[in-house]
């Protein structure tokens, strides 16, 4: 555990830490985790909606259903995101 500062690349910052690079990495990791969560939940919902009795492959109607389902899920996610954001703004304005 020698040299905590050496874990970070020395950059343009005044200290040993390159806060820009670190923040980029933090944001990327969070974005990846978010995308994984979205994909996992979307797969769950769309499997339930579109796959009846699982066969050997996905037939045409199932594939079409899944494609539409994924689009609708992302629409729903965006709607919920906007609605939740508005609600939070309204609550903050009251304080």
């Amino acid at each position: 555990m020698d040299g905590f500062g050496s874990d970070f690349s020395s950059g343009a910052g005044s200290g040993k830490m390159d806060t820009g690079t670190i923040m980029e990495q933090v944001k990327v990791q969070i974005a990846v985790a978010n995308a994984q969560e979205l994909l996992q939940r979307m797969t769950d919902k769309c499997f339930k909606k579109c796959i009846g009795k699982p066969g050997g492959t996905l037939d045409n109607s199932e594939q079409k259903c899944i494609a539409m389902c994924m689009d609708r899920y992302m629409d729903a996610w965006n709607t919920v995101s906007r609605a939740y954001n508005s609600r939070l703004q309204r609550e903050r304005a009251r304080i």
Binding site: M1, D2, G3, F4, G5, S6, G13, S14, G15, K16, M17, T19, I22, M23, V26, K27, I30, A33, N34, E37, L38, R41, K45, C46, K49, C50, C65, M68, C69, D71, R72, Y73, D75, A76, W77, T79, V80, S81, A83, Y84, N85, R87, L88, E91
Partner: protein
């Protein structure tokens, strides 16, 4: 244990970093909540087979669903 003591500019960097990370954490918490709400409200509002477009009735249902969840929480 030489590397653990931060000088003053490193301390400034560290607290700025803490501040920026706290902001990203808040954003991540918001997104996690959106995932939860979408999960619940999808079941409540999306009936039957998926359609080729999101209609306004479903959209309204989702918005109401979020409001209700916020009221409950």
């Amino acid at each position: 244990m030489d590397g653990f003591d931060l000088n003053s500019s490193e301390k400034a960097d560290a607290s700025e970093l803490q501040r920026m990370i706290a902001i990203e954490q808040q954003k991540a918490q918001f997104q996690a909540q959106v995932h939860n709400f979408t999960d619940v409200c999808w079941d409540k509002c999306m009936e039957g087979s998926p359609s080729s477009k999101m209609d306004s009735r479903t959209e309204t249902c989702l918005v109401n669903c979020v409001d209700q969840l916020c009221f409950i929480l």
